[in-house]
Symmetry: C2
Subunit: 115 residues, 2 copies
Amino acid sequence: MTTLTPAAAAARTGVSIDTLRYYEREGLIGPIRRSAGGRRAYTEDDVFWIGLVTCFREAGLGIADLRGFVAILRAEHPPQARVAFLRERRAALEQQVAALHRAMEVLDEKITYYS
Amino acid sequence: MTTLTPAAAAARTGVSIDTLRYYEREGLIGPIRRSAGGRRAYTEDDVFWIGLVTCFREAGLGIADLRGFVAILRAEHPPQARVAFLRERRAALEQQVAALHRAMEVLDEKITYYS
DNA sequence: TCTTGACCTGGAGCGCGCTCCAGATTCGAG
DNA sequence: CTCGAATCTGGAGCGCGCTCCAGGTCAAGA
């Protein structure tokens, strides 16, 4: 199977090598397979997963939230707990969208005023 | 004119006393008027402004961004610079909304999958 | 074989946004 | 006038999310 070096994985995902190692330490990704000499070899699945993590980070979720997400998707929890967790996170994101819209309304008002 | 003590202002705005002082030090609010003895006396205008700052903080703007906003609204910049700044901030918020929607789509997919 | 560069680990450092603390001062109730 | 609560200042401390560094290992080309 074709794998990626750390540098290549970083380039593909837009996440720095240091951050990839950090995410692995924190249990957000991996554990990443190693070559004979101990170097990391990222699979396509790893890259995909890193993309998910990045997506949630950009949406403002914290490292601890992401750890919860990992635990959920690894089926370490009963189904109803999974759905509950996911809905809760979704609600938090909706709150955040609402906050953004409030701020945008204020900006729009000021833009109108100064235009 | 009726003014508020620090404790009252904190209660009204939902921002801690320490944070109010911090915002003032950073130039995001105030300077707040003082009583003879040196205590802060928050006006209704101050409270309103603190509300604006809070609105933007909740939307994810940083302290430096807010400082820029303060400078703009205090008319320390030419009109076109004001509008440019405001539009730029607005665009950033839209980006953030887009990031949130992407994350919500992923969550929705997982929720569907696990339901 | 030698060199060069990518990678390894553990741990220190950093910027942000508060939050807390010590020690002094002021204010209002009794 | 006294006492306790609220506030003052300057500065230290903290949690987060990286980011950087030193000192050593591994791998591929000349």
